[in-house]
Symmetry: C2
Amino acid sequence: MNSYKAPLRDINFLLTDVFNAGALWASFPKLEGSLDEAIAGAVLEEAGKLAGEVLAPLNRSGDEEGAQWRDGVVTTPSGFREAFATYADGGWIGFTGNPAFGGLGMPKMLAVHVEEMLHGSNSSFALYSVLSSGASLAIDAHACEELKTKYLPNIYAGVWAASMCLTEPHAGTDLGLIRTRAESQADGSYRISGTKIFITGGEHDLTENIIHLVLAKLPDAPAGPKGISLFLVPKVMVAADGSLGERNALSCGSIEHKMGIKASATCVMNFDGATGWLVGEANKGLAAMFTMMNYERLTVGIQGVGCAHASYQTAVAYAKERLQSRSPSGAIAVDKVADPIIHHPDVRRMLLTMKALTEGGRALATYVGAQLDIAKHGVTREQRAEADTRVALLTPVTKAFLTDTGLESCVHGQQIFGGHGYIREWGQEQRVRDVRIAQIYEGTNGIQALDLLGRKVLGDGGKAVDGFLSEIRRHAAEPHVEHRDALLAAVNELEDVSRWIADRAAADPRQVGAASVEYLHLFGYVTYAYLWSKMASAAQANLAADPDFYSAKLATANFYFERLLPRIEGLSACLRGGAACLYELATEQF
Amino acid sequence: MNSYKAPLRDINFLLTDVFNAGALWASFPKLEGSLDEAIAGAVLEEAGKLAGEVLAPLNRSGDEEGAQWRDGVVTTPSGFREAFATYADGGWIGFTGNPAFGGLGMPKMLAVHVEEMLHGSNSSFALYSVLSSGASLAIDAHACEELKTKYLPNIYAGVWAASMCLTEPHAGTDLGLIRTRAESQADGSYRISGTKIFITGGEHDLTENIIHLVLAKLPDAPAGPKGISLFLVPKVMVAADGSLGERNALSCGSIEHKMGIKASATCVMNFDGATGWLVGEANKGLAAMFTMMNYERLTVGIQGVGCAHASYQTAVAYAKERLQSRSPSGAIAVDKVADPIIHHPDVRRMLLTMKALTEGGRALATYVGAQLDIAKHGVTREQRAEADTRVALLTPVTKAFLTDTGLESCVHGQQIFGGHGYIREWGQEQRVRDVRIAQIYEGTNGIQALDLLGRKVLGDGGKAVDGFLSEIRRHAAEPHVEHRDALLAAVNELEDVSRWIADRAAADPRQVGAASVEYLHLFGYVTYAYLWSKMASAAQANLAADPDFYSAKLATANFYFERLLPRIEGLSACLRGGAACLYELATEQF
């Protein structure tokens, strides 16, 4: 099953009915009125075609062939080169890029949907693209004009690709421990030496050059995270006229054998005195990387949604076809030997769980995308600052909650198939394997939870979360709000829990990490409740225009509020179990 | 990481301190005093050695090589043949088998621990063994003396293996739909024709013969599940003197490419007029299969525990070694660049979750094993009947809850490794892939939940569940019971929820399937609360004898009651969302 159909109608609903994207875009001076909902629709349709016709057919073969390493050369699976060329020709890699260097300058609120289609059709392929987009963002934000002029146009055009080289064998979460060194040279360049691991797209055959962004330490750098600098290190040296010269002193030592995303090359990269250039200021490399983090983490969250939605599509098709036992309320397909399993309540529960979580996740990605756009394009400084705060607060939620629920959804999507879900046949087991990485990379979900609770919620004394909850309450105060009472009760619960933790965290610093994952999930369910209330309210307002479509939104919202939101009661109760019980066991007793 | 260490001390705690196995075994006339706790300990130590030294080293290579099919011949991975011979020589396949035919007649309460070691060290290998044990159980219970005499000794001895052939392409959950036919022959045998899929160990090179138990329909059989008969169909014909003759008319058409348990051959089996013999009565094949179901489902549950425990062992070792960031309460390994991650609260939370769920699952398997033994060996008819009811009630819980929490645990065990968990290196990703099947086969966990709620709880008007809850309350009424109040509150909640569902199920038959999975999970957490209360009470009573060991049990129990049991609040709240919201969406609207 390699078919994939982009959820264009659902996206249109979010952009038009729920978030009024047209008005938002019209308010951005830099867009100069170049984008409206009709154009956006055409663009997304094009992306959907690419995903369905070019990328989806390579998803399973890519998994089976995998990326191959031989003597430092990485070969991507059959068809990936051609697909990447087609994709690059469409301008998609520079979709949100800076127009001054050939990017299309499209808003992130639109890009999130393209990214969902990439991940839904072919997660391994998606990574080659989003890494280039992400790295070019850091270059655009922090590199000098010379580097930008030299590298950005070709990255945007997909002539060259890019990678991010952060992790080292002993330094993953704790990047302060990295050992890669950079020594300054007389000509202003640096010599980079060290080993990086888990480098997605560190080497491949899709482009003639790969531009690595590498974290390294200068000789006199302070210890820890404040002594990290960022360098641009091309695989092949680029002359002043833009022509390619000789190979730089770097190589791919091997690639990893992984659970999933097998067509994505995960590389060990050896830098052996490779020539590089400083991006941004010395010792401020982590800050420069964080520019792109909010974008990348949102993209990883979207991987959860994309895989979940693809799994849902396949599961729905199967559940409508597969005949097994009779519906509990009496035979439905009376002319058949049994009823389609979609009529069984537990199968419906799984499908609706997938549907409600996926559409909630897509709504959150759209919302955060819009906030990123406002932070960049908003007319007033206050607007931009508020959006920036909202993005910072919601980025860890988006990354972790969309991927945790993404795994849950893909597991349901596999379970619906019974034994047929465990074998390759329908591709459902690949979704589970592919989506699993999204909970791990780009900062594990445990780290996201610490970031949310420790830094974003408690770190500013609760201001950011208050701002968000005020927005939800303003929504709830509007006339004709669906699920108002349940939403407000959930917001109150989140506020209670936040206060409960804050009251204890000062006295016991372990309390933050002890509560963080359950807190993030609670935060996620409350956020989805907000978005499902918004979606249901929009659906109710438009019901007459397309009863079939909008009534499905209302029904899914009902399911969410009846059967999923109450999960917060368990999360809250477990979290209040506190930190002490985590430390009763001595380390040796594990 | 192929190391595996059997949890002998923990098993001894369960057998001796918690369940007083010695006294139970002494009460069984058939065991004739041949088994006590010391002998059991020696037996388990032997099994642990086999698992650690013979099976664990083949776990990863087995996954990488996989079972191979060529022209109908299935080759198991390197080392499997020798390992199977060693295992069979030890008498393990007939461990619980009937002594009249060469089995060892050991109690299931002991066998569950051997099975955990099998699954913990090598799930794929385990399947070849447990299928033979399970099939021989059905033969022993239902076949005529001639078949038993002819086949059981060689199966027990591991000279021959066995398989269960139930599923067909269009008939998985709904076995009433099977199309495989059996025609009676003049000599009393039958000709079996049809195709079976997902046949574990349907073909392999471990033994010179494979005895298939095949579900098929006689020409005049009633439609549906009441028209199914069970047949014994050997791969190679066996002469009256026990010597092997020619091949029977059956063959392995292909094997599946699966997410995990890759060293286990999952076969398409074609029966082309193969000769077989009826086992038990005509049209009562499903009942005959159900004899072994309680055993097999318990074993599959144990797969969840085995994989989870193996993942836990590896994760603990890694968490003690891996240095990353500082503990929130200040540096601990002051001479190192960072602290071992086991000091971080969220890592401890994941490890303790694995530990509490795994030990709870092991306790439940032990308890159900003991009940199976009482049902078989109990002195009075009342004892046997009560145990039988308890087994019937708890079998679906054990199968589904141990495997659902098994997946959760293995996912935690992978997550603790960050990126290193996603690659093959430490084997953590293989555990996730291997354990996943246990939620699917032997009746999906959704089907287990329906069996629990529909048949076992509501089907007898709540008598079985009342009996179990009375047992828990009797325990809680004893002096010196740990976690008494929390346990009783949880029992009350389960009772409330059971009543809530019963009140609605009569009016809305969809309510059972709508509530069943959350109900089963709730049931599982309450059952673990009972067992953790028992374990903590036993640990408290013995604390002085081994403070280090028993205090760890007390601490883990505290964690369970503080941080895991409260999950029931969410389950209860979600379940009460009811059935109606599952059916608001029309089928076409999915």
